[in-house]
């Protein structure tokens, strides 16, 4: 099963590499291939479509604000489940694509112990054993995996309705669907913040697919060591001595 998934993912990655381009310049590392970036932005597109069409029916106070965006209440209602299915479909592919690097390790548990230092900005660099994804990214990833499953199941119940499932499953799904969406809504702020202004240099990883070496040794030192064979702390000190300041 896992090898079949791997073959599927590898085939898709190679095919997408032939369609899209990733230019990695001197002093940069390849971060995300075209397939990963494509999936990410499809997930993002359907996430926001589902989020905003869902906002309309989330609260009466939002109904008149958000439903016109989708052509009115009935259309927002009709489209929302399809947006949700699009999200689940592309995030499902992304889950297969990422399941290996997203696996929790002992290093992630150690990273969590450093969380306070990272959030407060005292830790300038991530712990040396931080790999391709850090623990925070993995938590968010697995939260979305679980949240998507909840949204999917409750969404199907809400979609098909009380005529088929009875009133109480619908009434319960109504709450669980909201809670899952609310957690994701809270998470998306952190995600967008850290990938843009919170940790400068991150955004290009999902646009161009490449990141600077300085970015890599700062935020994902173990991954930097793995792909370059150099020690991240030494590389950083080396850059400091030579006056190469990329992190402005």
């Amino acid at each position: 099963m896992s090898s079949a998934v791997e073959r599927f993912d590898d085939g898709a990655r190679n095919r997408f590499d032939r369609i899209g381009q990733t230019e990695v310049y001197e002093g940069e590392l390849l971060r995300h291939r075209v397939y990963t970036r494509f999936l990410h932005w499809m997930v993002a597109l359907f996430f926001f479509l589902a989020l905003f069409s869902g906002f309309g029916v989330y609260l009466p106070w939002l109904f008149r604000w958000f439903t016109p965006v989708f052509g009115g209440g009935p259309l927002a209602r009709a489209l929302h489940p399809w947006f949700g299915l699009g999200f689940v479909f592309f995030f499902g592919l992304q889950t297969l694509n990422w399941i290996k690097p997203m696996t929790w390790t002992a290093a992630d548990t150690r990273w969590m112990h450093n969380l306070r230092g990272i959030v407060s900005g005292k830790e300038k660099m991530d712990p040396p054993d931080t790999g391709f994804f850090n623990a925070g990214q993995k938590i968010q990833f697995w939260e979305i995996v679980v949240g998507s499953i909840v949204l999917f199941i409750t969404g199907i119940i809400l979609w098909i309705g009380a005529d088929t499932f009875g009133r109480w499953p619908v009434a319960v799904s109504y709450v669980l669907h909201d809670i899952s969406a609310l957690i994701m809504l809270g998470g998306i702020f952190i995600h967008i913040y850290l990938s843009t202004i919170g940790e400068p240099g991150t955004f290009q990883a999902m646009i161009r697919g490449a990141v600077s070496e300085a970015w890599a040794w700062t935020f994902h030192p173990a991954w930097y060591r793995e792909v370059t064979g150099r020690d991240p702390v030494e590389a950083c000190e080396d850059a400091r001595r030579r006056g190469q300041f990329t992190g402005k």
Binding site: I118, A162, F189, Y193, G198, Q244, G247
Partner: protein, 306 residues
Amino acid sequence: MEAGMSDRKTLQVKQISGHSGAAPGLGVQRDAEVCKLIDTTICIGCKACEVACVEWNDMPFSPTTFDNTYQTMPSTRWNFWNLIKFNEHQQEDGTVKWLMRKDQCMHCADPGCLRACPADGAIVQYTNGIVDFQQENCIGCEFCVSGCPFDIPKFNPATKKVYKCTLCSDRVGQGLEPACIKACPTGCLKFGTKDDMKYIAEERANQLRNNFGFEKAGVYDPQSIGGTHVIYVLHDAENPEHYGALPKDPVIPLSYTVWKWFFKPVFGTIALLGGLGVLLHYVTVGPRRPQPEPPLRKEGSDVQRR
């Protein structure tokens, strides 16, 4: 019939689903609550009310399911709002009682459909007590189906709208009684103000108890949803479920009351505060930049860290 009932003021809107703020014009006119009284003890199951309902509301009839009863169909439909439910109930002494109950929207004082509805203006409750669906505002989400304790709102897949009994709000607005009332040949159905109907119903229940030996006879006007604007006289008011799934204590799921009107806005605000939180992090702690960062300028006291 009170004077106020016969004019259009009875269509004054009291509540509007999914609508922020009070209903416009509320409290400027006198309230006269209407009520339909159904005396199940003198219903003969003739189905004249079913026909009258279909005719007045000009609804197409569609094939039904025969399930070994006299019932026209198993439950009401989007195009069949008024259904006599036939139930054979075996009593304690072994004899069988044939119970007939006219099933339709109960026009609850606290309507679960209206509570559940997210669409602005899709369900309104008039000050006269009638709960009415406004299909032009309905988005077809079917939450009302789950909000209703009586399994009344029905979805039409062709129009993607939900329909139910209007208590003939169009007729009542013109001072007429609902079509089913007009058709009833036995006097089992009565229509008037809630106070009058409640009085008549209680009198009839008294009569059943004292003169006819129905010791458990009573009026069905469930207070768990604030009472209804359709009330029943039952031979056995202690077991309304014998009359075809009529709930003893109908309830609205907490999802559509506590969750919708309290936790949703509160949690929604908290989630949005998350956005404020990260911005606060940016201005207080600041971003984490790839290392090494260039050294800060030394000269000038006005140059602060970052």
